[in-house]
């Protein structure tokens, strides 16, 4: 088996707070191959923070540590900002959870995509413009010419999300970390956007970390799923087995979904147990394997 694209061992992110040190990520380990890796888990469980830590985007006073954080065998843990910037947006991209917030509010959308593309591929401005239009069309933006000339506050929530995806895919990254990338999309647009990501994994061997709270979607779209709770991975599953999850937290998540074909008065809510914070982990292995092959 060849080396994974990304290898993370015992990743920790800690913030000093008034009440003492708060550990947002507490010893996360996983390998990413050329696969669709889903990450689900409760709000505040450390999903976004894990992604940010990989990209070196945790701001001080937050502290990141790990036994290992390697991109294709090369350590990227706490690299100097200049080197990290060369990796970010080039070899690893991240679609942030707050897409509109991550766009520059005073720069036209078209100019932002063109800049992102040229930073990576160089070339003439005209060609980059064509490419930008093409990418906006690919993410189902209906009137790409108008959107190119618009500012971020002039587009809808779901459009912002798609623009961010188009921008992050422009440099053709080896790894894409997508943080709730489709949470504001209606289902038909969502399908198209997922197809694009799916194609990149299948045809170009991109590694995809797909953070989402949509369990059904993750079960259908991903190959493997990590379940996070309170900063740890409590269970790792093949996506198709998600509905047979063993950890009580994962089971609880599945039960709290509303269903169109099953109306209920009140939704089931989780009874969280303190023991989940530090209790035993399900399906834990030191070596992970890669469905889909490498």
């Amino acid at each position: 088996m060849s080396a994974p694209l990304l290898s993370v061992k015992n990743l920790r992110v800690a913030f000093p707070t008034r009440q003492g040190v708060f550990e947002a990520v507490r010893g996360v380990s996983f390998d990413l191959g050329r696969e669709r890796l889903g990450v689900v888990g409760e709000s505040g469980s450390g999903k976004s923070m894990t992604g940010r830590a990989v990209l070196g985007l945790v701001r001080p006073p937050g502290k990141v540590s790990a036994d290992k954080l390697e991109l294709e065998g090369q350590s990227i843990l706490n690299l100097p900002e200049r080197q990290m910037r060369a990796i970010r947006g080039n070899r690893i991209s991240m679609v942030m959870q707050d897409p509109k917030f991550s766009l520059n509010p005073v720069m036209k959308i078209g100019d932002q995509i063109i800049e992102a593309y040229r930073l990576h591929a160089g070339g003439a401005k005209d060609a980059a413009r064509q490419k930008a239009l093409e990418m906006l069309r690919a993410v189902q933006i209906r009137d790409p010419e108008r959107v190119m000339g618009a500012y971020p506050h002039e587009v809808s929530g779901g459009m912002g999300q798609r623009i961010m995806i188009a921008m992050m895919l422009a440099p053709d990254p080896e790894i894409l970390i997508a943080d709730e990338p489709t949470s504001a999309l209606d289902v038909s647009v969502r399908t198209e956007v997922l197809n694009i990501m799916d194609g990149l994994v299948r045809d170009r061997g991109m590694g995809l970390i797909f953070i989402s709270h949509d369990l059904n979607l993750v079960a259908q779209f991903c190959d493997r799923v990590l379940i996070m709770y309170a900063g740890r991975i409590v269970e790792t599953l093949a996506a198709k087995d998600l509905h047979n999850a063993r950890h009580p937290y994962t089971q609880g998540l599945l039960n709290s979904l509303p269903r169109l074909d099953h109306p209920v008065e009140r939704l089931a809510v989780l009874q969280r147990q303190d023991s989940w914070r530090d209790g035993p982990l399900e399906g834990e292995r030191t070596e992970t394997d890669f469905p889909g092959g490498l």
Binding site: S43, G44, P258, L260
Partner: protein, 250 residues
């Protein structure tokens, strides 16, 4: 409680004018919960923003609790009656204001007393403990920020709540808690909701009726019962329902 008639909303001037909402009409009875679903970019948020007075370029009628509103002018009584939870919680929270300040300012603005215990109660209601009270937005996760935005809207004890994708940033367990809270509040205080969501099962759970939007127009208004039992008449609605059954790899 809410009547919207022949609403047009546009941005900019010809030739660049964008017609975001075209001739939209619907009304929501007191105590009813009404869903707005449809394509991304179809004008759902724009309708809510026009109602709350964030957009001046509109025509038609908007009536809240029997009072017609005009342009962008909304008085204090309006904001006591109507509150909105925005789609984009990051943009709607002041980056330098702590959770405590956000909530206490809203409470003071509405002339409420007993601020300290109200804040405690609000945070508990949305599933955030006291540990979050003095945090700033950048110290919160996406779902935690969204819950602060919901707590702020509830702080004013409004009668009409406009909710723009209120749970799309939340994991399903927290989503269940928030939806149950909204259900309880509606039962206890007879609140009225207008809720935008792309998740048909959430709309099915929360709403009595819904409007399906596409390209700035309301394509169809239906009951949740019709939604559940295949009673959609428009092709687009049927397509939406079929697609929400799940993702299949191409």
């Amino acid at each position: 409680m809410l009547r919207v008639d022949d609403l047009d909303v546009w941005f900019g001037f010809p030739p660049d004018r964008v017609d975001a909402v075209k001739r939209a009409s619907f009304s929501v009875a007191e105590g009813e919960s009404f869903g707005l679903v449809g394509e991304s970019g179809s004008g759902k948020s724009t309708i809510l923003r026009a109602i709350t007075g964030l957009i001046d370029s509109w025509s038609g009628t908007i009536e809240v609790a029997g009072q017609a509103v005009a342009g962008q002018k909304r008085d204090r009584a309006f904001h006591k009656t109507v509150q909105m939870v925005f789609q984009d919680p990051y943009a709607s929270l002041h980056p330098r204001h702590s959770v405590d300040r956000v909530l206490s300012e809203t409470l003071k603005l509405q002339g409420m007393g007993d601020i300290d215990s109200r804040i405690t109660r609000l945070l508990e209601d949305v599933g955030l403990g006291q540990g979050f009270r003095f945090r700033y937005p950048h110290q919160l996760s996406g779902g935690q920020r969204q819950r602060v935005a919901i707590a702020r809207a509830l702080a004013a004890e409004p009668r009409l709540l406009l909710l723009d994708e209120p749970t799309s940033a939340l994991d399903v367990s927290v989503q269940a808690e928030i939806l149950n809270l909204l259900t309880d509040l509606r039962a206890e205080h007879g609140l009225t909701y207008v809720m935008v969501s792309h998740d048909l099962s959430v709309v099915g759970h929360m709403c009595d009726r819904l409007a399906v939007m596409r390209g700035g127009r309301i394509e169809e208004i239906m009951t949740v019962d019709q939604l559940r039992h295949g009673g959609a008449t428009e092709d687009y609605t049927r397509h939406l329902i079929a697609a929400s059954a799940g993702y299949e790899r191409a």
